[in-house]
Symmetry: C2
Subunit: 150 residues, 2 copies
């Protein structure tokens, strides 16, 4: 586990800068900060508010909102609805997965798309509906909480 003193922008995948520029976008210090905050949280998902809180001293809230929207547009981040009427953001570098939200501890875990493989087929034949790319959010109780009693 690396110490807290990351020396520079080592965390920034070269892709970020490239991709920004490829779309006529500029890589600014603020955007780097926001991207790092998102990337340093590999498992969790951050609400816009979380990002605002973690960058308050370096980036203006309005810039955070504008940047998160931008990241989603450019495909660098994904926006997911995890209930609670908030949107959550995560870096988009992982493969497609769905979200399991524990209703007790609120922890969010992932399930690989494969586990739900034939869901699309079932829905299509049952309702003539073609599932899109959007990831799913499922609610329930995680293994830990379940073991812990109940």
């Amino acid at each position: 586990v690396p110490g807290p003193q990351a020396d520079d922008h080592a965390h920034v995948p070269p892709r970020a800068g490239e991709l920004f520029r490829a779309h006529g976008r500029r890589l600014t210090a603020q955007r780097r900060v926001i991207w790092e905050v998102l990337a340093e949280e590999p498992d969790r998902h951050l609400s816009a508010d979380d990002v605002v809180a973690r960058t308050r001293d370096r980036v203006d809230p309005s810039t955070v909102y504008r940047t998160l929207e931008l990241l989603v547009e450019e495909g660098l981040a994904r926006r997911t609805d995890l209930g609670d009427d908030r949107a959550y953001y995560e870096p988009a570098h992982e493969h497609r997965h769905h979200h399991l939200v524990c209703e007790r501890c609120c922890r969010v875990t992932h399930v690989h798309d494969d586990a739900l493989a034939d869901l699309g087929t079932r829905v299509a034949s049952a309702a003539g509906f073609t599932l899109g790319e959007r990831e799913l959010t499922l609610f329930g109780v995680c293994g830990d909480c379940r073991a812990r009693g109940g």
Copy 2:
């Protein structure tokens, strides 16, 4: 189609009044209005804002919010997240079903729980996660839009 002068509370299922009272709650004119608005919309789902709009002349917005929350607490209505950062409400008299939201026409259709029957089993074995009662929301393209081209 009945005229605008519905004579009385014919629309109100007896259950509503009973259930309200059974929980020490009172059935007021405003609650009846809100309940009717919800019940008259058999297929659709109304956002809090929709309900506010449809009752603006008869019920104060704050009362609408308080009542919707109450209805959910009492199990008379279900609150569902259909994306878009809004909560949607529907009467809870139907059997469990999930929501298909068309990303083109925004229409919401239902799939019966059966169609997704073994989803819970799959998720449980893949991630040790026990799905709860909450209904699912799936995004994609509905049959009509698909037929209409694309």
